[in-house]
Amino acid sequence: MNQPVGAQAEVVLRLRGITKRFGSLTANDAIDLDLHKGEVVALLGENGAGKSTLMSILFGHYVADEGTVEAFGQPLPPGDPAAALARGIGMVHQHFTLADNLTVLDNVMLGTESLWSWRSRRSAGRARLDRLAGAFGLAVRGDARVGDLSVGERQRVEILKALYRDARILILDEPTAVLTPQESASLRATLGRLVAEGLSIIFISHKLDEVLEIGDRVVVLRAGKVAGEVPVADADRPMLAGMMVGRAVEQPQRRQLSPGAVAVGLQGVTVLGEGGRRRLDAVDLDIRAGEIVGLAGVSGNGQSVLSDVLAGLITPDGGHYRLADEDVSRAGTRGLVARGVGRIPEDRQASGVIGDMTIPETLIAEDFRARPFSRFGVIDWRAARDFAARIVSDFDVRTERPDLNARLLSGGNMQKLLLGRALARRPRFVLANQPTRGLDVGAAAYVHQRLLAAREAGAAILLISEDLDEVLRLSDRVAVMFRGRLREADPALGPVTVERLGLMMAGQGFEHAA
């Protein structure tokens, strides 16, 4: 890849003058875009720039207000996903479109046979699925229930869905946002094979390194318009970041601090799962005031359980969780909040905001029982609104109105809201679980800046992230989880690098543990 595709290559997809309005908002504004055969176009843009909207129009989920789409020289009927599929357009959606309770094969075969056929040719389907999976290195069991799969495996199923239908054009909307570095790497390898087979790809991502690695050409959207277009060969990170945001994005820097006393201590924390399995196995960890500890690990190795313990959702079956000198193992969510723990949940949509509540309502969810938000059980909405106004301005939450429903915020702005909720109380301990997942570079930089500021204000911070660059950049110390156990990467053994972390995440250094 990264070979510029000659202008002579066939144009497989031609978008002209695509305009889409949602009420007063113009999400796409007269966008033109071409895709050539065998080309990888990387589509970049801030959160809310209109990337997903454009792709949804192309695929027929949305109907454009103006503009046309041509695939392989023929106009594509608007608002008809079936037509797009029939033309060989496959789409991997930003949010998975899979049914958890059904099998992989079910999800893949859906819609590939006539609905009026009297039987489903499942064995042929399974054979085809296995062949594709083998050919493109997308190993996944056809009979597995999708709900039991890891995020990476689901991503593979999404791609297999498209390949199963002989897609010639593949659209991937932030396919790597939730993947581990290893999974991302294997996905990139797969895409390479696909391009070699002659597929054309539109690839959306906020991870600029990735874009630079696999894209041939970068198209940048800003506020619904095409802000620029460059061949990858001529692009670099700062340049792309600047094109997206419209100004230079500065990476916040970690200053050297001398850490204070131990603020958070875990001793032998153990959580048992079904059948006595140890989901957390005697985890020890100290975090000092003014220190960021980064925690890496392949998802499913216990980071989420640890995060739930620290957030007060789970009471450990053994060991101690201490804040300063107090054992808070049984304090519960409310007790922890009261003792100055700020928590940023892993899944901001599911456990963070209450989507159908307004911004002020969502913001007081943790302490609506206390002053100033309520007295004698009566809520003071003015205090809540004032608080919300402060958070919105302090944390740069971009919203049309301060009383918008939280659901309508973009992911980045939702994240800023939750960051504000967690940090406004000047917590002693900040638990930040995947705080920049899916965020654009600008928003991610902002989150980093706020976390570093909290550190400088003396908070102890645990940063759980699958983005190893982020972990290395922000953390004073780094630990890795593997099969429920936690090990620190000892700096005495040499510099902590992505490679070293990768090996630890695969289990190196955990062998002789108890």
């Binding site: 989920h61 789409m91 049914a99 079910d106 819609g111 590939t112 489903s120 869905k161």
Partner: protein
């Protein structure tokens, strides 16, 4: 033990299947709707409309088979209404359903009174007769049809592309749309088919179990079916089991009343099927089977 003897008599089980038949139709119909993600509280009214229209057609001279078709068509029409209200319009499935029940019931009664302004007793038809077969098989054709439909529904749901699409649209409509299938049409279609089966359940009462249409004759059977669907964890086979079990409780209490009648208030017997259903639910239900997208409207192009 006299009551044990009773359980092994053929006539008891004949009665069980007879009592269970309308429940099988209704439960199967509701199951299909819910599998597609649409709760259909219109069932009680749709059963009334099916009972009335099927019977009226036969009363006006149509053959019994045509009565069945008329009932199914009326059920499908009401299903279409429910479908339009709840699928593309995305209205509350609770209210739309209760509204349909009220509408279908009152319209049936209104039509009945307009067609028969002066009758003083319910007009009768010649209903389906039980087949002259030995043992359990002395049932009317509609009971056989019910069993056939259970097998058919199970086959379609689990073995055909259409069934896969229906199950999927109840789990995640976005996934269905992403695979190029029209969510709206699929859901409306499922609701129509399900509703026509419910109407069959009603028609069984007027064309097979009895020979006249009577106000209030559905008498809560539709609501029972809703409960049976949950009991069945949304599976056709278990739905059959649930309907038969409930019918067995009912047949059993009717006989138990004869056996130990005097000592115990009759209400205790009538309660038995409901109490036992709750107990059965406690024993066997976890919410595992519930279609994820049940009661969640899906509007294309909205998030």
């Amino acid at each position: 033990m006299a009551w044990l003897d009773m359980l092994v008599t053929a006539s008891f089980w004949v009665a069980v299947l007879r009592i269970g038949t309308p429940l099988i139709f209704g439960t199967l119909g509701e199951l299909i709707c819910e599998r597609a993600g649409v709760l259909n509280l219109g069932i009680e009214g749709i059963m009334v409309a099916g009972a009335f229209s099927g019977w009226l057609a036969v009363y006006l001279g149509a053959p019994l088979g045509a009565g069945i078709l008329v009932a199914m068509a009326v059920g499908a029409a009401l299903g279409l209404l429910h479908g339009i209200l709840t699928v593309p319009l995305g209205l509350s499935q609770h209210v739309a359903g209760i509204g349909i029940t009220l509408l279908a019931t009152s319209l049936s009664y209104y039509f009945y009174r307009m067609v028969f302004p002066t009758v003083t007793e319910p007009p009768r038809i010649q209903p389906f007769q039980p087949l002259d077969l030995p043992g359990l098989f002395a049932q009317t054709p509609m009971t056989y049809l019910a069993f056939l439909l259970v097998a058919l529904t199970a086959y379609v749901l689990y073995r055909t592309p259409l069934g896969l699409a229906v199950r999927m649209v109840g789990e995640n409509p976005a996934a269905v749309e992403a695979q190029g299938i029209d969510v709206t049409r699929l859901r409306i279609g499922a609701v129509m088919v399900g509703s026509s089966l419910m109407a069959l359940g009603g028609a069984f009462l007027t064309l097979s179990a009895f020979n006249a249409f009577y106000f209030n004759m559905i008498n809560g059977r539709g609501w029972i079916c809703i409960a049976l669907v949950v009991f069945a964890s949304w599976r056709p086979g278990k739905a059959l089991l649930g309907a038969v079990l409930f019918a067995a409780f009912d047949a059993f209490q009717l006989r138990l009343q004869q056996l130990i009648g005097g000592a115990v208030p009759y209400q205790i017997f009538l309660m038995a099927p409901y109490v036992l259903s709750i107990l059965a639910l406690i024993v066997m239900s976890r919410r595992a089977g519930v279609p994820r997208a049940l009661m969640i409207p899906y509007r294309k192009g909205e998030r």
